[in-house]
């Protein structure tokens, strides 16, 4: 019960209330365009050494150049493709696996639930970075193993969330009705439970996306992430961070893009939840 003092009419909502969300959507859209069309949009190649390092921005290089003299703008565009594409792949995979297992655990219940939950408990008992460090050291670093490892780690949390949301929904009477109709497990998962868990899951998707971003960046730091000369935003911060010591602000560019993306995704997630009445 949220109460407020009974007073006269509250201030009318600002006309600009929707502006941040619109800008966020625009930014995300631009990023997606980069993801798809990096090859056509970027003025220079991803790994092309085109100028001297750490040049200040000018017409030829609007965002300057990086530590090897590559065009920063092009790297940002290609980096969007790698970072966003990778994070999307990770989170999508994590949701597909974690979500499906979570729903299955809820719908099947009993020993299936117990077994899956215990296994997830075990892996969640291990620190994510340690898990990734071991997994990637064992399997070697490639985009595929990176995606699989990060997705596996993220899927653990997705499983937990889906399961807890699902248990709540599965206890509702309409699920009993579907069972009494002998609907298949898959149909119950897909038609009865999933749609009702969709909004919180979408909001979680945004959050996980941001975390996946961060996680990949952390792995880059340990030399286990995206491998150069491929550009990724986290890695670009890392590569150029030395410039800070000389008072150059190049690393702020990718860092700024990361922050912008995080805020945008978050804003859109909040907006989606609010639009659906905020109900979980």
């Amino acid at each position: 019960m949220s109460l407020s003092d009974a007073t006269a009419r509250p201030a009318a909502p600002s006309r600009l209330a929707g502006l941040p969300v619109a800008l966020a959507a625009l930014f995300c859209l631009a990023c997606l365009v980069c993801v798809i069309g990096a090859d056509w949009i970027a003025p220079y190649g991803e790994a092309d050494l085109v100028a001297m390092p750490w040049q200040a921005p000018d017409l030829a290089h609007p965002l300057g150049t990086d530590q090897l003299g590559r065009d920063m703008l092009s790297r940002i565009i290609f980096g969007a493709r790698t970072s966003i594409g990778l994070s999307l792949a990770i989170v999508t995979l994590a949701f597909a696996v974690g979500g499906a297992l979570g729903l299955a655990a809820v719908t099947l219940g009993g020993w299936a639930d117990a077994v899956i939950s215990r296994i997830v408990d075990l892996f969640m008992a291990l620190p994510p970075l340690v898990l990734a460090l071991l997994a990637l050291s064992v399997s070697g670093t490639s985009l595929v193993t990176l995606t699989l490892t990060a997705a596996f780690i993220a899927s653990l949390r997705v499983f937990r969330l889906t399961r807890s949301l699902g248990i709540d929904i599965a206890a509702r009477d309409f699920v009993d009705v579907a069972r009494l109709r002998r609907d298949s497990t898959a149909r119950i998962m897909w038609r009865e439970i999933l749609p009702n868990a969709a909004i919180p899951l979408i909001s979680e998707f945004g959050l996980r996306f941001v975390f996946a971003f961060l996680f990949v960046a952390s792995l880059s730091f340990l030399g286990l992430g995206v491998q150069p000369p491929m550009a990724d935003w986290g890695g670009m911060v890392r590569e150029n961070v030395g410039a800070l010591n000389y008072g150059r602000l190049t690393p702020l560019v990718p860092a700024g893009f990361i922050a912008l993306l995080a805020i945008s995704v978050n804003l859109i997630g909040d907006w989606l939840v609010a639009r659906r009445g905020g109900g979980r």
């Binding site: 730091f221 150069p228 030395g242």
Partner: protein, 535 residues
């Protein structure tokens, strides 16, 4: 001198960027003999070092690459830490000079019997270990034998395999018998593995040597400290009172530590940082141009490069200048597809520089019966930093010649074991730290039976001449022989050498006595013994 090749591995914290984060395990000082006079040309000579009188005292702090697994055991030492610590705690029989000549250290003098297979070493008298024990021939024999024999776990094992027998002649004299003649044999005792420890010594957490400094604390992977050895026998050396190594592996953190005044010395500086560091009044940068070079190995045994014309094409399709300018920022020299630096006493100045000439490359391609050509280049961060980017530059340069190079970036782990020296790979990337003598590098990389013949090149004339040169005591004849050996490599071997990379070090302004030393980083790893502090 140990004969490891410079495997470079990416350290955590280093990302994959820049030189600074590289740990050169098993790294050798190149003895790229820079002729005393000739070599000084392009080198930076900071301050008027020679004019200054060395000052005593002070604390010298260095940022060194290392790991928790480091040890003071000369046989198993790893990383920059192991090398630097070896020259701080210990002495060796022979000392390598900055000009790549050698001079006596714990061996007062030596002589080769005719044929250069039997060598007599006279051990210096009156030298005391840190624990008070006096140095004898037994200590020397123990120290050498640790690297020999079946059970040896030493990194210098194969180097010492050249020794057939060691005999103690008296308390201060030993005789070393080689399996085959080697006129440069004393160079083998300059390497850090060959540190001299007391007979039977095993306590590597509290090492005992005869060096200028006594180790006072050792936390592997964290730091180590030394105090000046009051009884040090060597005059005019080991000036500072305390030495501290801080293990710093993160590229940026290392430079920041120097800039913020927490350390005085730093090796393995990223070429990208050089220009900015030079603009920083608080930092001295020292470039040492030596025998460190990169290599592209073209497989001469299997695949397309069995055709020498294609090897020629590849040698003309690389823009060495561009690689030097962009990747090394000019901190090096362009290569000419042979392993000796211009400063090496054996360098053959008559050898013509292969130019970047796509037309010529095309010509050789046509000669091999091809219009265009596609090849896979294996690179890895295990070799040198930015190796994939250098590969890209090679690719860009080769395209106009009709050669398409696909740059494949192999994982660092396993690169040396599985990709490199794999006869099924047509083209791999390598890196060499240089060696004190021409013979060492040639026997290691180019001889048919060489352990690291990365291009699987085999040339009967070369093999024969190499053995002759090794045993030749006449300087003029040797120089001519090595000249021919270089020509053979340059003209025929499957080796593209794009650049020689400088060793780049940075110091705080109070460090004096600096001098470019072409054998390795931080004055050939002997900075603790040679520098002094001011102010």
């Amino acid at each position: 001198m140990s004969n490891d090749m410079g495997k470079i591995r990416i350290m955590p914290g280093a990302g994959n960027h820049g030189h600074g984060g590289i740990s050169r395990r098993d790294l050798m000082k190149s003895a790229a003999a820079l002729g005393l006079v000739a070599g000084a040309g392009g080198l930076l000579m900071p301050g008027a070092a020679r004019a200054d009188e060395p000052k005593k005292g002070g604390q010298l702090r260095a940022g060194i690459l290392g790991a928790t697994t480091n040890t003071n055991d000369p046989a198993l030492r790893q990383d920059e830490f192991g090398v630097m610590a070896a020259y701080t705690t210990y002495n060796h029989l022979v000392e390598l000079n900055p000009d790549k000549t050698i001079k006596p250290e714990l061996a007062e003098s030596w002589e080769a019997k005719p044929g250069a297979t039997e060598w007599i070493f006279n051990i210096r008298k009156g030298v005391e270990f840190h624990n008070g024990k006096t140095l004898t021939a037994d200590d020397v024999i123990y120290s050498i034998n640790r690297h020999r024999g079946e059970k040896s776990q030493s990194g210098a094992k194969s180097l010492m395999a050249a020794i057939a027998d060691i005999k103690k002649l008296d308390a201060n004299q030993i005789q070393v018998t080689l399996k085959s003649a080697n006129a440069d044999f004393p160079y083998n005792f300059t390497g850090d593995h060959m540190a001299i420890t007391p007979d039977g010594f095993e306590d590597w957490m509290k090492p005992v040597g005869t060096g200028g400094y006594k180790q006072t604390s050792f936390e592997p992977g964290v730091r180590a400290t030394w105090v000046h050895n009051k009884n040090y026998w060597k005059p005019g050396r080991a000036h500072v009172e305390e030495v501290e190594f801080l293990v710093l592996n993160d590229t940026q953190a290392r430079i920041a530590a120097l800039q913020s005044g927490q350390i005085d010395a730093l090796g393995l500086v990223d070429p990208a940082a050089v220009e900015m560091l030079k603009g920083n009044a608080g930092v001295q940068v020292v470039n040492s141009s030596g025998g460190q070079f990169w290599s592209y190995a073209l497989n001469c045994k299997k695949g397309p490069f069995t055709d020498p014309n294609l090897r020629e094409a590849m040698k003309h399709a690389i823009d060495r200048k561009k690689i030097l300018d962009i990747v090394l920022r000019g901190n090096g020299k362009i290569g000419n597809d042979q392993p000796l630096a211009t400063t090496d006493p054996m360098f053959n100045p008559d050898l013509a520089q292969t130019p970047y000439d796509p037309e010529k490359a095309k010509f050789f391609l046509k000669k091999a019966g091809m219009e265009s050509f596609k090849i896979e280049l294996n690179t890895s961060d295990a070799t040198f930093a930015n190796s994939a980017n250098v590969g890209q530059l090679y690719r860009q340069a080769a395209l106009p010649a009709g050669i398409t190079i696909d740059v494949v970036r192999q994982p660092a782990d396993g690169y040396w074991d599985q990709i490199w020296l794999n006869v099924d790979k047509p083209m791999t990337t390598g890196v060499w730290m240089g060696r004190p003598t021409a013979d060492m590098i040639m026997s290691m990389v180019y001889a048919s039976a060489a352990p690291w013949n990365e291009s699987f090149w085999s040339n009967a004339r070369f093999d024969e001449l190499l053995v002759q040169a090794r045993g030749e005591l006449d300087a003029g004849k040797r120089k001519a022989m090595y000249g021919e050996l270089q020509t053979l490599i340059h003209d025929n071997a499957g080796h593209v050498v794009p650049v020689f990379a400088d060793f780049i070090d940075a110091y705080s302004p109070r460090v004096k006595g600096l001098m470019p030393t072409p054998s390795w980083y931080l004055m050939g790893a002997r900075f603790t013994e040679r520098v002094w502090l001011e102010g």
